[in-house]
Symmetry: C2
Subunit: 419 residues, 2 copies
């Protein structure tokens, strides 16, 4: 099958030929490419992912096709997203190699990325959360990832020259941004053929979202921030399905939605998905009592924000005399003034994160794409009850986020909605 | 003199040859190019501007050189600014032809724009304000210009696809943005070789600006918004020296600083410069009593904002079912909800405008580039007294802008500082 401009959609067979004709990939496989074991594992929504295992090496090959996999050719989507994913893996990997898989090879024509295979026991974090597994290092690792990637791609580290150049490049990933605009900030708040929810249980709840003027006004502000504000190179899809974990490793994959946007979009995605995991636990509680696991999730939420804040601020202090142009050392020239600037910055970022986190929660309950945390609760009544509590919490958080000053206050409210 | 890549700096003589070899320009001059009268009038800071008058037609030719004219080759500045100026004149002219001179010709290699000659009695607005001339249509016209140009280049009118494409292009004007970042948001708040002020009178005042932590924290927020927020295609230098007027015409020139930035940056530049004009009037009061003129300025400030708000909102209503993606009609689907959205939007824009306006005032008093309104007050004591009142007002406005809800409240405070 000949694609346009040299592009061909690969399959298990043609991928072998592709690998054999690409010396770098052959060498990564230790020059042993005769008995390759190839498995397509794309459980994601958009792309094809192949695990390639040979006798002397392994890798993962991800290919983007010019449409959305889980919907089909009827929803076209530029395969150039692979380019932005590759650039972001490399850029984020440069600043945080411990938590981003290494990119071995990128082929723009083929929209194909070869990267490190995150071997078992790595699993997708969301699955671990559903199984009730505690990851003691998760907050430490993910706060590290977020602090390093967001700080180093912001104006606290970049000159405005570097920043605008990078912003311009990532404007090219507009199709993926538009998908987010639609499914996160628009569809849940209107009638849309794509929306779905646990029905009939949540019919009234979905309708209430569409009728909630205060909520819609707040969502408009977040959407504007998403579309207008180039604060840092964000991952753009940092939910618990974009993170692979073991008990001592945390790896962030799948940044195909990356662009220069508000930092709170990433932080909120992660925290919001942990909160979804929290509210889903009662639906999984027949296997085991989940109370202590719920505590661990809440602790991880608190630790993530608190550690992020600490690490981000440390990076700022470390680089305060560097090239970053947002706060020139000659102006913010006393420790007390710098501290005030940091406090202001963190306060705004906290509120942004809560807002985006809440919006991401809402869309997972009444929008097109749901989360396995809830979907795997077979009993619809039980599922609806979990979802409703998450939704009510998220609505309150979105509307009242500016009233919260610490993550502990947010956690108290989660407790309230957990009754 | 051969420049790089075909660029040559023109002079009165070589400009004639350039015109003669450019058929379009010849035709604009009615094919009469033998007795051209050429006068270089670049009173601006950056570029060379030639008025070309023939027996059957006229034009203005503006050329950017690869440095800042008023400083010299020691401060290089990309001549590509002419490209962004030309694109913006055309784009703004498309939406507001009544208040933007027509571009006849643009030569990117030569960084040269030929445009309509704004004939006498057109003068630079700032000079009219110094002379105490009332322009009864100014608020009407400039509110029209700002509403039309800002609305039509925002996400209220653009799809996000068009918006990101345009944002990416204007990221290229980063050198000019950097100049603003330096002279507006940084230098006044630190020791800089470029800063100057009426000395010794304002030595303490300049020092106080550098020591004012609250002010510096607020300026950081504005700088971040300037660098990160691509809200609309702003003129970028909309002071009263970038506007030419007669009693019945208002024309906006010189958008070489244009980029996708916060709308409040333009609105604030205009309002802030009118406020500077207001505070300078007492320095010109020996020629005539300026009390009624000061009233007119304040009335123009109020009218400009109020008319802008009305016109911008009308455009929004008119296009609410159009391609703009910020507020989808299916979501913001009741008149009362839309009105609330507009009220929120205008409130934020008002505060942004006051903040940027104040920052622009401050930098004109203690930064590198001053305004003729004050500079033309010969008596240093008198000048310093005018400047000090303007500076104190601006500092208060920058710090407390969120406390104001109407332009009339701002005007009351101006009155207070006028005592
Ligand atoms: N580097 C990797 N190592 C191991 N498994 C991976 C790797 N990258 C992706 N996967 C697996 O493939 C799945 C889909 O990958 P992902 O990048 O999320 O694709 P999509 O963009 O389609 O969501 C992941 O959920 C994970 O199970
Ligand atoms: N289209 C025009 N018609 C008449 N005079 C103009 C025109 N454009 C510029 N000028 C004159 O030239 C001066 C400098 O032009 P401007 O575009 O402001 O240049 P600069 O970028 O150097 O500030 C203006 O102040 C005005 O007096
Ligand atoms: Mg994925
Ligand atoms: Mg993906
Ligand atoms: Mg000028
Ligand atoms: Mg100028
Ligand atoms: Mg200029």
């Amino acid at each position: 099958m000949e694609g346009n401009g040299g592009f061909r959609a690969l399959n298990d067979k043609s991928l072998v030929d592709y690998i054999k004709s690409t010396p770098l990939l052959v060498s990564i496989l230790g020059n042993q490419v005769e008995d390759l074991d190839i498995k397509e594992v794309g459980d994601g929504n958009l792309n094809f992912v192949y695990i390639v295992v040979g006798s002397a090496g392994s890798m993962v090959v991800k290919q983007a096709l010019p449409y959305i996999r889980c919907i089909g050719e009827s929803w076209p989507m530029t395969k150039e997203r692979a380019y932005f994913e590759a650039v972001t893996l490399k850029e984020h990997g440069r600043f945080c190699p411990a938590h981003v898989p290494e990119v071995y090879h990128f082929d723009r024509t083929m929209s194909l990325i070869a990267m490190r295979y995150l071997k078992p026991p790595h699993i997708i974090l969301r699955k671990g959360l559903i199984a009730g597994i505690e990851y003691p290092l998760l907050a430490e690792h993910i706060s590290d990832y977020m602090a390093k990637t967001l700080f180093h791609t912001s104006l606290l580290y970049h000159s405005t020259t570097d920043h605008r150049r990078a912003v311009a490049e990532f404007c090219g990933n507009v199709e993926l941004c538009r998908l987010t605009e639609q499914v996160v900030f628009s569809d849940p708040y209107k009638i849309s053929q794509y929306n779905r929810w646990t029905s009939p249980e949540l019919d009234g709840d979905a309708e209430a979202v569409r009728q909630d003027d205060t909520l819609k006004l707040e969502v408009a502000k977040l959407k504007a921030m998403f579309c207008e504000r180039a604060q840092a190179l964000v991952h753009g899809d940092l939910h618990t399905g974009s993170i692979m974990v073991t008990l001592d490793s945390t790896q962030v994959i799948d940044p195909e939605f990356a662009f220069y946007g508000p930092m709170g979009f990433d932080i909120g995605a992660f925290l919001g998905n942990l909160i979804l995991a929290f509210f889903s636990q009662d639906g999984h509680a027949d296997q085991a009592n989940r109370e202590s696991y719920k505590k661990w999730i809440l602790g991880t939420i608190a630790d993530t924000w608190n550690l992020f804040q600490k690490k981000f601020t440390s990076l700022w202090n470390e680089h305060k005399d560097g090239d970053g142009e947002a706060y020139l050392a000659a102006i913010y020239n006393s420790p007390s003034l710098l501290l005030l600037a940091q406090t202001n910055y963190m306060k705004d970022l906290f509120h942004d994160s809560l807002g985006f986190g809440a919006a991401k929660m809402i869309r997972r309950i009444v929008g097109v794409a749901h989360v396995e945390d809830f979907e795997s609760i077979v009993d619809a009544k039980k599922r609806a009850s979990c979802e409703r509590r998450a939704l009510e919490f998220a609505k309150k958080l979105l509307k009242e986020r500016h009233a919260y000053h610490t993550i502990d206050q947010v956690i108290s409210i989660i407790h309230e909605f957990n009754q």
